[in-house]
């Protein structure tokens, strides 16, 4: 199987994730979109690693995973905090920084 397929899959996943972030209002779904984008990137990195025959891409993927884990913790905490105060997980309700 050609390595290009992996890249195409990665692109598709990244695009789906992006669309989820941009179009969905529910904070949890937006968050899942972000995760999807990160993992699409990981897939691309691992594929590139394979293409170039060295481990740089895989190391990068590990870093991304670590950062993603930290981000999940913070992000979920924020969403929970917002839900507690606003009784809603919609990102459009959180617009206090307007203007």
């Amino acid at each position: 199987m050609s390595l290009t397929n992996y890249l195409v899959l990665s692109t598709l996943l990244f695009t789906i994730g992006t669309m989820a972030v941009l179009l969905r209002r529910n904070g949890i779904i937006v968050f899942m979109g972000v995760e999807l984008m990160l993992n699409a990137t990981n897939l691309a990195l691992v594929t590139f690693s394979r293409m170039h025959g060295n481990l740089d891409g895989q190391v990068f993927a590990f870093f991304v995973m670590v950062v993603a884990a930290a981000e999940v913790v913070i992000g979920l905490a924020i969403i929970v905090a917002i839900f507690r105060t606003r009784r809603s997980a919609s990102v459009d309700d959180v617009n206090l920084l307007r203007n």
Binding site: L22, V30, L97
Partner: protein, 659 residues
């Protein structure tokens, strides 16, 4: 060599005593003179209300301690041979910057010691008087703190061995004067009077600063010894500039024309302040400055002439104003101005006058302080009334005040054998001394001082008769307060008695064998006796005739006939004199008005141009921000879209440039 001899011949100061090092414990601890009252002032100010009970006695003790130290130094100086009577006490290295190295030091010589004795003796008496005079004032402690501060600053002024240290004392007395004129600053007009005095003094200080800059530029040093030593190599124009700048300083501090307008208003301060600062000591600092800078004036005949002219104008000016004032303190203030005019004139006459300027200054310090204290005593007994038209007939009710004031009166108008006769007569004689190449000067200034003597006799007799003689014109109960004049407490009368004794005897005692002029010789130089343009007996006789005439006219108008309780309209000159010969109006028109206009235009320029530019930049920034902030809509998803767009743009740019 021949040049040097010529200079020495022109300057009688070339052979002045060379400063020597201090000897004996008292000369070495001369700094205590300044330190003791300064520490006392600090204690009184810092201890606050806690020292209310004993603070005034601490003030008296500090002033008296300075007097005792001064007297001990005086004795040690009198025991030294004449050639060693100029002592320089080094204190510490004060300023060391670039070319300027300046040591703070004190100069003990006959001139400074004369001032030390005058300031501390009269000062201590006035401290004692104030204990009773300010008895009812809740802020008496603060008053004594300021008085001590004044004594310290004045002593620093006269003891300094350089112009910079003198300037520190000079500013110090200005500050003390400001604080004391405005002591009752809850009355707006008193606070304004204090500010006026302060600002008029600042104008004078500018002169002292200019003089110091000019000295530093030409000589490179500011201590008396170096500056006066370098005068012989200074060209006349530089010396004239320095002399005129010093004269400006003296005019500010000594209330001389054209900076005299503050002195009348300065009477807003408590009467002991008027006696100490605005009669006996601080206002004579200008005379001290001129006499101290004598070597400079000797090298600048034009500046010297300016000093004489200023003195002559002020002595007539003050005398005319004094004839019309009904406020007892303002009349005395005008008289002070006029008497300092005498001293200035004498100081400008050169070596023939220096000693007599200081002599008159000392005797004036006594009789004028005595009369001010007498005026304070009258006010004390008359519910703070100051209008002489509402006095009259007080001689029977306030006997001690009457006698002591009367002695001061006889002294100031120059009746022999009282103090003023000896000092003023000498000035009149000196004014008649011929000046080589300018015969008119002897006649002009001689007649000015003669007329001044007659006017002095008139206005002082007017003041004396209106207050103590004639009918009672006291305010009645219907007019506000019924008067029950009474003699003041002993703490007030004793200082008056002591000063009156001084007014009687000091002039005669110090004239015996010319003891005072000889004493001052190490500082002001020795002058050979010369003959005035008129024989001395003629001068004396015409002075006495004018004095008696002035006193008689005053007696006829203010003692023998009825004095109206409300001032009559009077002639144009009287009306002008009541308003200080329109000096305030002139100042307003010439200085204050244009100054205010300039300030307003600068403020306008500042608002329109400078502020306009700043505000304009702010407006533009706000305008841009108004538009840009629309982008901040608060929706996370739109920010994410923007980021995405940015990432896409970056990607496209990178890819396009690669291809």
């Amino acid at each position: 060599m021949s040049v040097h001899t010529l200079t020495a011949a022109r300057l009688p100061f070339a052979d002045l005593a060379v400063p020597v090092a201090p000897s004996g414990p008292w000369q070495e601890s001369a700094w205590l003179l300044v330190a003791v009252p300064l520490v006392s002032a600090a204690v009184l100010l810092l201890a606050g209300r806690r020292s209310d009970r004993w603070g005034h006695w601490l003030g008296v003790a500090a002033s008296a301690a300075s007097f005792v130290i001064g007297a001990l130094i005086l004795v040690s100086l009198l025991q030294a041979p004449v050639g060693e009577r100029v002592v320089e006490v080094d204190l510490f290295d004060w300023i060391s910057a670039g070319q300027l190295t300046l040591a703070a030091g004190l100069r003990l010589d006959p001139l400074s010691l004369t001032f030390v004795m005058l300031v501390t003796f009269v000062g201590s008496l006035i401290h004692v008087y104030s204990v009773a005079y300010m008895d009812a004032d809740v802020d008496r402690r603060r008053f004594f703190a300021y008085l001590n501060l004044f004594v310290a600053a004045m002593l620093l002024l006269v003891l300094a061995d350089s112009f910079v240290l003198l300037f520190m004392g000079w500013e110090g007395v200005g500050l003390a004067s400001y604080l004391l004129i405005g002591f009752w600053n809850h009355r707006t007009e008193y606070a304004v009077a204090a500010k006026k005095a302060f600002i008029a003094n600042r104008v004078g200080d500018l002169g002292l600063l200019i003089a110091m800059m000019a000295m530093f530029a030409t000589v490179g040093a500011l201590d008396f010894t170096s500056v006066f030593g370098a005068v012989s190599s200074m060209d006349t124009s530089t010396a004239t500039i320095i002399g005129l700048a010093l004269l400006l300083a003296a005019c500010g501090k000594s209330a001389q024309f054209p900076l005299q307008s503050w002195l009348g208003d300065a009477m807003a301060g408590p009467t002991p302040v008027s006696a100490l600062i605005h009669a006996a000591t601080m206002v004579t600092a200008g005379v001290y400055l001129v006499v101290r800078s004598a070597p400079i004036y000797e090298a600048a005949p034009d500046a010297q002439l300016a000093v004489v002219v200023v003195g002559a104008i002020t002595l007539l000016f003050g005398a005319i104003v004094g004839c019309a004032k009904d406020d007892i303190k303002k009349a005395l203030a005008a008289s002070t101005m006029s008497q300092i005019g005498y001293m200035m004139l004498a100081a400008g006459l050169g070596p023939v006058g220096y000693a007599f300027a200081i002599f008159h200054l000392v005797t004036h310090g006594f009789f004028k302080a005595g009369m001010f204290l007498g005026a304070g005593s009258v006010m004390h007994g008359m519910n703070d009334q100051v209008d002489m038209r509402r006095f009259g007939g007080l001689a029977r009710y306030m006997k001690i005040t009457w006698v002591t004031f009367g002695l001061g009166w006889l002294a100031i108008i120059g009746v022999p054998p009282f103090s003023g006769f000896f000092s003023k007569d000498k000035i009149i004689e000196a004014a008649f001394m011929p000046v080589a190449g300018a015969e008119w000067r002897a006649w002009l200034f001689g007649s000015v001082v003669l007329i001044g003597a007659g006017l002095t006799a008139f206005y002082m007799s007017r003041l004396f008769f209106m207050t103590f003689h004639g009918e009672k014109r006291w305010t009645t109960a219907a007019e506000g307060a019924e008067q029950h004049p009474h003699e003041s407490p002993r703490l007030m009368t004793w200082p008056m008695v002591v000063l009156a004794v001084g007014s009687v005897a000091l002039g005669g005692l110090l004239s015996i064998g010319g003891v005072f002029t000889t004493w001052l010789e190490p500082v002001v130089g020795h002058t050979e006796h010369a003959d005035p343009v008129l024989p001395i007996p003629v001068i004396m006789a015409s002075t006495l005739v004018l004095v008696l005439l002035g006193a008689f006219l005053a007696w006829r108008q203010y003692a023998a006939s009825t004095v109206p309780e409300v001032a009559p309209a009077g002639s144009a000159l009287t009306r002008a004199a009541r308003r200080d010969l329109y000096q305030d109006e002139v100042n307003d028109a010439v200085l204050v008005g244009p100054g205010a206009y300039l300030t307003r235009s600068l403020v306008y320029g500042d608002r329109q141009v400078v502020d306009g530019a700043v505000v304009g930049v702010a407006h533009v920034t706000v305008g841009i921000a108004e538009r840009v902030r629309k982008l901040q809509n608060g929706y996370v998803r739109s920010y994410a879209a923007t980021m995405l767009a940015g990432a896409v743009v970056l990607l496209v740019v990178v890819l396009v440039t690669r291809i």
